[in-house]
């Protein structure tokens, strides 16, 4: 646990942030070049299949983010360290971003390939429920009356939300299996070209770096926010500090 603590401190420094930022920028640019120019188009779907190189990594990162929210929430409830709350909220924000990106990209891909923006496929439905759960998580954070309480509440939602996901998925799969519609053809047949797989893995690496960057920035901002809140709270407001004029001359408030 202490090793993770040290890692978290290091990830929140300015240097780490900058390095991750440049690495993820390079990675995303590389993914764009590989996915758009280097890899051949799909035999059946053509160019539209290239969306997979960003859609699939976004989906994986969304699930990773929410798993991190769960782990950090449990760690917070067990240890009571505010650092874990900062990890959880940072990851939740990144997860909502990736999850929304997954849905938008999937929708863009589904329109030409399936002929519809949206279909009530179990995976899609679970993903959109997942997004709404964590939007709820973020909205709850504005409500609490103290930082400690906010941390407790969001940790509880972080745990409950994660426990809910398998049940949601189970219910949606069951619901769909009773209501057969046209089955959809999924991308990623077992015979995937090695260059396609390599690009996909590269894209995942780039998205992971971007996640690391977002986490680093958000952790640092979170720490600064907490710091600012505690210093502002512990000092009297400027008005209360306005000095009484001891001397008739030159004792006025400065700045």
């Amino acid at each position: 646990m202490s090793m993770i603590d040290r890692l978290l401190v290091r990830a929140g420094t300015r240097g780490a942030q900058r390095a991750l930022g440049w690495a993820s920028l390079g990675g995303l640019a590389g993914t764009a070049v590989l996915g758009l120019y280097v890899v051949p188009p799909d035999a059946e779907q053509g160019d539209v299949q290239r969306l997979m190189y960003v859609h699939v990594p976004a989906a994986w990162l969304a699930f990773l983010s929410f798993t991190v929210v769960f782990v950090a929430s449990v760690a917070y409830l067990r240890t009571g360290r505010i650092r874990w709350d900062r990890v959880a909220v940072a990851s939740a924000e990144a997860g909502v971003l990736f999850c929304a990106l997954t849905l938008v990209l999937g929708s863009l891909w589904g329109r030409p390939v399936w002929g519809t923006w949206w279909t009530w496929d179990p995976r899609l439905t679970t993903t959109v429920v997942l997004l709404l759960v964590y939007v709820g998580y973020l909205s709850l954070r504005n409500v609490a009356d103290s930082p400690t309480r906010r941390a407790h509440w969001s940790a509880v939602v972080g745990v409950v939300g994660f426990v809910d996901v398998p049940i949601v998925h189970m219910s949606v799969v069951w619901w769909r299996s009773l209501h057969q519609e046209a089955t959809v053809i999924r991308p990623g047949a077992p015979t995937m070209d090695p260059s396609m797989l390599a690009t996909l893995l590269f894209g995942t690496l780039a998205f992971s770096l971007a996640y690391g960057y977002l986490m680093a920035v958000r952790l640092r901002v979170g720490r600064l926010e907490d710091h600012a809140a505690s210093t502002v709270m512990s000092q009297p407001s400027p008005r209360a500090r306005a000095p009484r004029p001891v001397h008739p001359v030159g004792g006025g408030p400065r700045g």
Partner: protein, 222 residues
């Protein structure tokens, strides 16, 4: 100890509700209004109404129940009764279970009344397989109440009222799907897939009663 405390909390909540009708008194008219609005939205076609009736029943129940959870905590927070309850030397999990039991009883009343209204207004046949229908309703209501009693607390703590629907509605997706589908199958006289839905509802109820029991204390901590 835990169970005795839970029963005491549940009994107190139900006595308060029976004497004041603070929650059901406004939630039942709300559900009835919603059913009328659903009817207006869908039009007077009997066939369509009967087909959608199970969904409308549970949606009206669900939205009204979310309001009910907030109200039952609101009545507790007025006059500071909640502070006394939370300070009492009983396990916090027991308070949660008591709240969940009381909420289940109230939501059951809500569902029975709503069900009768749906039967009358939309021609939903309730008599086909009553035992399974009661079981489905009970499990669905327990699931709703398990989450509602947990997060309803957040509407009275904190500086602003938590948006309970935003929090609860996505989480209860399995109950919505499971209860509606099972009800829909049962009122048509079938039982195909009902066992699976009952399983989903049981898993949901068990998961959230256990989670709520474990984490309720954390919601109260300052």
């Amino acid at each position: 100890m835990t169970w005795r405390a839970a029963w005491a909390v549940a009994g107190k909540d139900l006595r308060v509700e029976v004497r004041s009708r603070y929650a059901l008194g406004s939630v039942l008219p709300f559900a009835a209004t919603m059913l009328l609005a659903f009817g207006f939205a869908l039009g007077p076609d009997r066939g369509l109404l009967r087909l959608t009736a199970p969904g409308l029943l549970w949606l009206a129940g669900l939205f009204a129940a979310v309001d009910l959870f907030a109200r039952s905590y609101r009545s507790e927070a007025d006059a500071g009764a909640l502070d006394g309850l939370l300070l009492s030397p009983v396990p916090k999990g027991a308070v949660y279970l008591g709240k969940a039991v009381a909420a289940t009883a109230q939501v059951l009343v809500l569902m029975v009344v709503t069900g009768l209204l749906v039967a009358v207004l939309f021609g939903l046949p309730l008599g086909r397989s009553p035992a399974l229908l009661v079981l489905t309703t009970l499990l669905g209501v327990v699931g709703l109440s398990a989450l509602g009693s947990l997060f309803g607390l957040l509407t009275v703590l904190g500086r602003r009222q938590a948006a309970l629907p935003v929090l609860v509605l996505p989480l209860v997706t399995p109950v919505v799907i499971g209860a509606i589908r099972a009800t829909g199958t049962l009122v048509q006289g079938g039982t195909e897939g009902v066992a699976g839905w009952v399983g989903v509802l049981l898993a949901f109820d068990a998961a959230f009663l256990a989670t709520g029991f474990l984490v309720y204390g954390h919601l109260i901590e300052d």
